[in-house]
Subunit: 338 residues, 2 copies
C-alpha cells in the first residue's frame, strides 16, 4: 500500500491541504507545523503521486525534444538530453521526426493531440516543417527553438554563435595562407547554415579576398554531402587549398573524399568543420572545427521551456551562447609550392 497525502496529514495531525502546502513550498504554514509535516513525510516515506498531480493540474508534466532523424549532428544533443533524463517534474521525451514519413507525422500528432506533452523543443530542420507548425499553432503548444533568430516568428530560442564562429575559422585559414577556401554550405532553410555562410563571406571581405561563388557549394549537412562536395571541387577547376565544411559530418565526408583521392591532409589540403562533435577528435588526423557548447544549449532550452510552462510565456527569451575555434591536425599552413 502506498502512503498518500492523507496518511501524512493524519500522522502530522493536520489537514491534507497543509501537507500540500508544505510539499509545494507554499507560504502560510507556521514553522512548527511545517516541521511536523516534514517529519511525517520522512517517517512514512511519502512521495506525491505524479499521476494524480497530472490529472488535477491538467498537465502531462512531460515535454518533447524533437530531433532530426538520421544525422549524427544531433547525437551530441541526444547525449545531453539522456543525461538530463527529466527536469524537475517534467519527463523529457526525445523523438526523431521524419516529416516525409506518415508514421512519424502520426506519432508526433498523437503526442500533441492526446495531450501527452505540455511543450516542445525543436531543432532544425523540424522548426520549419509546416505539418509541425500547424500542429503547434492548433494546439497552442509552447515551443523553444534551437536555432538562430527567425524574424518571421516570435519564438524563444537558444543557439550558439554561428556567424562569429565561421568568421573566426575563415580568418584562421586565411592567416594560414589559404586564399581558395571551399565552403560546403547546408540547406538554404537551415538558418544556422546561412549564418555560417555569412560569417565566411565577411572574413573574406575583411581580408580583401574577392568572393568566388564557385567556392560555395550547397550540399547536405551529412557525410555524403561533404563527400560529394569535396569530390566535385577537386575534380573540377575549383581547386581549393582548404575545405571549410559547414558541419562536422560534412567535414568527415570531405576528409574521406580527399584521402580517397590521395591528397595528404593537411599537407596538401586543409579540412575543417563546424560543431565539434565528439568523434571529430577521434578521426585521423583530428578535425579542426568550431566548438559549439551543445550541452549548454540543450540545458538552457529545456530549462527555458520548463520556465515557460510553469511561469507563463513571459519566461521565454533569446539566448546566444559563445562558440570557439578548436585547432587539430586537419589544417595547416598552405605552402605555395605544393
Amino acid at each position: 500500500m502506498t502512503t498518500t497525502i492523507k496518511d501524512v496529514a493524519r500522522a502530522a495531525n493536520c489537514s491534507i491541504k497543509t501537507v500540500s502546502r508544505v510539499m509545494n513550498n507554499e507560504p502560510h504554514v507556521k514553522e512548527p507545523v511545517r516541521q511536523r509535516v516534514l517529519e511525517a513525510v520522512k517517517a512514512l516515506g511519502y512521495v506525491p503521486n505524479i499521476s494524480a498531480r497530472r490529472l488535477v493540474q491538467r498537465r502531462a508534466f512531460s515535454l518533447c525534444f524533437l530531433l532530426h532523424a538520421g544525422g549524427l549532428e544531433q547525437s551530441a544533443m541526444v547525449a545531453k538530453i539522456l543525461d538530463i533524463g527529466f527536469e524537475f517534474d517534467y519527463d523529457i521525451l526525445p523523438l526523431t521526426y521524419f516529416p516525409s514519413l506518415a508514421r512519424s507525422r502520426g506519432k508526433l500528432a498523437s503526442l500533441i493531440n492526446e495531450h501527452r506533452i505540455d511543450g516542445l523543443v525543436t531543432t532544425p530542420p523540424a522548426d520549419t516543417d509546416e505539418f509541425l507548425l500547424n500542429l503547434i499553432t492548433a494546439a497552442q503548444l509552447p515551443v523553444v527553438q534551437i536555432t538562430p533568430y527567425n524574424p518571421q516568428a516570435n519564438i524563444p530560442y537558444v543557439t550558439s554563435q554561428d556567424y562569429q564562429g565561421a568568421q573566426q575559422m575563415t580568418e584562421h585559414l586565411i592567416a594560414l595562407g589559404h586564399q581558395r577556401i571551399l565552403f560546403l554550405s547546408g540547406p538554404r532553410n537551415h538558418r544556422a547554415s546561412l549564418d555560417r555562410l555569412f560569417g565566411y563571406r565577411a572574413a573574406l571581405e575583411n581580408a580583401g579576398i574577392p568572393f568566388d561563388r564557385r567556392l560555395v557549394l550547397d550540399s547536405e549537412f551529412n557525410f555524403d554531402g561533404g563527400y560529394t562536395g569535396a569530390k566535385l571541387a577537386l575534380m573540377t577547376e575549383i581547386q581549393p587549398t582548404a575545405i571549410f565544411a559547414g558541419s562536422d559530418e560534412a567535414a568527415w565526408g570531405a576528409l574521406y573524399a580527399v584521402q580517397e583521392m590521395n591528397y595528404r591532409v593537411p599537407e596538401q589540403i586543409s579540412v575543417c568543420g563546424f560543431g565539434d562533435l565528439p568523434q571529430s577528435q577521434s578521426i585521423w588526423p583530428g578535425l579542426t572545427t568550431v566548438h559549439q557548447p551543445i550541452d549548454q544549449v540543450v540545458d538552457r532550452a529545456i530549462q527555458m521551456l520548463v520556465e515557460i510552462l510553469t511561469e507563463g510565456p513571459g519566461a521565454g527569451q533569446a539566448v546566444v551562447l559563445p562558440s570557439r575555434l578548436v585547432l587539430r591536425g586537419s589544417t595547416a599552413r598552405h605552402e605555395a609550392g605544393l
Copy 2:
C-alpha cells in the same frame, strides 16, 4: 474545453462505463451500441485522458531505457529508441546511467521510487550494477535486459549472436591467411564481450592454430581502449597481422593507432570490429565488422517489456537474433612477405 467520456456517453445515449468498454475493446457491448459510441467519439474528437488512466490504474504508463554513458556503442540503440518514441500507451524515457555519479544514481532512484516508471530495459554494464539491482529488487520492477544470458539471474533478455559472430569473423581472417590475430577484449563483466572472446578462441581451435594468450588484450570497449591496445601490440613483440576489436569503437581507436604508426591498412595490417555502428562505413577505409541487428534488438526488448507490463511476468522470454559479417576495406589477405 476538452471532451470527456461523459460527453461521449451523453451523445451516444449510454453510460460512461459502456464508452469505457468500447474504448478498451472489452466484450459485452452490443454491436449497435458500439457503433453509436464510435460515431460519437469521432464526432466529438474524443481522446481518453491518459493522466486519469494513469491515476486510476496506478501505473505510470512509461518505462525507462537505461543506457551506458559516454560510449557511442549505444548511439545506434538510441537512434532506434528515439524513432520509436513511445509504444502504445507507454512513454519511453531513455536515460544514461553513470553509476559512479551520485547525481546519476539519484536520478535513477527517484525515477523508480517516485513510481514514474513501470519497468526498465537495461544494457551493459548497467545490468550488473549493484545499486541498480538493489533498486529493482526493492521495487519489484519488471526488467528486460539487452545482454546475453546471465545464468545467475532469471531475467528475460534480448541479444544477438555474439559467439557465432566472433567465430565467423575469426574464421574469415584465418581464411585470409592471418595467423596472428590480436583480440581486443572488453571488460570481464561484460557478458557479450566474453562470448565474443569464446567465439574467437573456438575459431582458432577449429583451425588448429595454437592459442597465444599474449594475443588477447583486456581493454575498454571505446576509442581509447582500442588505441592503447593496438599501440601496445605493435610496439612489443606481439606483432599481430590482424586486429580484431571486440567493439567497433575500439576498432576505430585501433585504426587510428595503426595509421598513426604509419602502417597501411589493410595492406600491412587488417583491422575489424564488432557491432557495425553507422559510422563504421564512413571512416576510411571502411571497417569490416560483425553486423548486429540493433534496431530489432531494441524493438523486441521494448515490446517484451510492454507485454510483461500488460500481460504479466509470463510474457518474458529469451530472444537471440542473428548477426552477420560485413566486409569492407579494412581487412585483406595477409601476404607473407610484407
